[in-house]
């Protein structure tokens, strides 16, 4: 509606001015435009800063609760957590800025979970691998005592509802992760046995995952996610478990 009017008005302007009868309002002065834009920006800036300040605590609390809930699910004994990073060189240090900042390459993030007595209950870490539709991201709990995975939870996935998403609900599948063997080799350089999903009903070793019939690809993705993440993290982590023990006391 407005476009033809505008274009015709623009064409007419010079003629009208020459004729001495200004029928349309002249263009606004630049100063007015700058003033308005400045005013709008200032108002909007104020609103945004106000909203950010007002919701900051609630958002941070929500994020903490969400992380805690995810960790507590994979390590049932846990009562409190703290966040760490494993550096490529082998060091471990607490992560201070627990925001959304991206990690440097080679750095692996994990959570140390402590039980009610302040004892290290387990380690929780994330892993991801390509599933049927998209990357399946999972969080798994590792227990230093049995050197095994003691629980998994799904962080994000887009697997087919009703088939691939059985990895959350299928009891027989989840039973794989009651004590999934992730023992390290003697020299602590890598896992002694590769964690792997095998065809439904053919699990023979404690480091194998019995896949869900009909959802083999998703099951394999879970196995690969655990394996890749454990391979990257555990060799650095296991020699330094005392640091994590102490971290809670301080």
């Amino acid at each position: 509606m407005s476009t033809p009017e505008k274009s015709s008005a623009q064409k007419i302007i010079p003629i009208a001015v020459a004729g001495g009868t200004p029928s349309t309002p002249p263009a606004s002065p630049t100063a007015a435009m700058i003033r308005t834009l400045g005013l709008v920006s200032a108002i909007c800036g104020l609103i945004i800063v106000g909203a950010y300040q007002g919701t900051y605590d609630a958002v941070a609390a929500n994020k903490r609760i969400a992380t805690e809930r995810a960790v507590f699910k994979v390590i049932p004994a846990a009562k409190s957590i703290s966040e760490f990073v494993a550096l490529p060189g082998g060091g471990i240090e607490p992560r201070v800025d627990a925001g959304d900042t991206a990690l440097a390459p080679g750095v692996v993030k994990f959570f140390a979970a402590y039980d009610a007595g302040g004892k290290l209950a387990g380690i929780a870490a994330e892993g991801g691998a390509k599933g049927y539709a998209d990357t399946v991201r999972i969080m798994f709990g590792y227990s230093p005592e049995c050197q095994c995975v003691i629980g998994i939870g799904v962080v994000s996935m887009r697997e087919t509802p009703g088939i691939g998403d059985k990895i959350i609900t299928d009891r027989n599948f989840l039973a794989n992760f009651n004590a999934l063997d992730t023992r390290l080799k003697g020299d602590l350089s890598a896992l002694a046995n590769e964690v792997k999903a095998v065809k439904n009903g053919t699990k023979t070793n404690p480091w194998q995952i019995d896949a869900i019939a009909g959802a083999t690809i998703t099951s394999r993705a879970v196995g690969k996610a655990i394996n890749d993440s454990a391979q990257a993290l555990l060799p650095r982590l296991v020699p330094k478990l005392e640091i994590l023990q102490k971290a809670q006391k301080s």
């Binding site: 308005t36 108002i43 909007c44 929500n62 509802p161």
Partner: protein
């Protein structure tokens, strides 16, 4: 403004120019987030907040904004309220925030909002502008809910999380996948146009 005119402003968005069923605007959130009633409702309410607030502010500033920079001003105002909604939803529930995903931020490009700001709010005083925006948002909420409830009932056997058919329900997987959104939208458009046509036919026979 007299009362009937205001009522008319309000009803315009709900029936005559319903953004989903008549104007078919804002299809991106309509199709993408309506996998459940809760998602649809919260998306609708987020849009309602942005639409009403930005229309109010645009209407307040309508006399001081030079026409050359009006679109920039509108977009900045809309983006501001979208950011506010973004923070609010994060503060209310992270699970909801994850479920709605990028579509919260994408409210800023929802053409219903810019369209209302340009076509109505910039030419009317704040009260009628906000009432019109409210009506338009309710129309949008109704549209989203119409899709969301059908998709949730068939796709999960629940309505707002309450199980309707018991444990043995067979979910229609397609309804929570993107094609389901198109099917349900198509079906609703069919129902609405049939209804509108019947109404028009009745009106014409009565007049004759």
């Amino acid at each position: 403004m007299s009362a009937p005119a205001t009522w008319d402003e309000f009803m315009e968005g709900i029936w005559r120019q319903n953004p989903v069923f008549v104007m078919v605007l804002g299809m991106c959130p309509t199709l993408a987030v309506t996998v459940s009633g809760v998602n649809a409702l919260s998306m609708g309410l987020a849009t309602l907040f942005v639409l009403v607030c930005s229309c109010g502010l645009v209407s307040l500033m309508r006399n001081i904004v030079p026409k050359e920079v009006r679109i920039a001003v509108y977009i900045v105002i809309i983006a501001t309220f979208v950011t506010v909604v973004d923070y609010l939803i994060q503060a209310i529930s992270l699970a909801l925030y994850d479920a709605l995903g990028a579509f919260i931020q994408l409210i800023v490009v929802n053409c219903i909002i810019l369209g209302r700001a340009e076509a109505h709010a910039s030419r009317n005083p704040p009260l009628p502008a906000m009432i019109n925006a409210l009506g338009m948002s309710f129309g949008f909420v109704i549209g989203l809910l119409a899709l969301g409830t059908v998709r949730e009932i068939l796709g999960a056997g629940t309505l707002f999380g309450v199980s309707l058919f018991g444990a043995g329900f067979q979910p229609w997987v397609i309804m929570v996948l993107p094609p389901g959104g198109f099917f349900v939208l198509g079906a609703w458009l069919l129902v609405f146009s049939w209804w509108a046509r019947r109404k028009a036919k009745r009106g014409s026979t009565q007049n004759a």
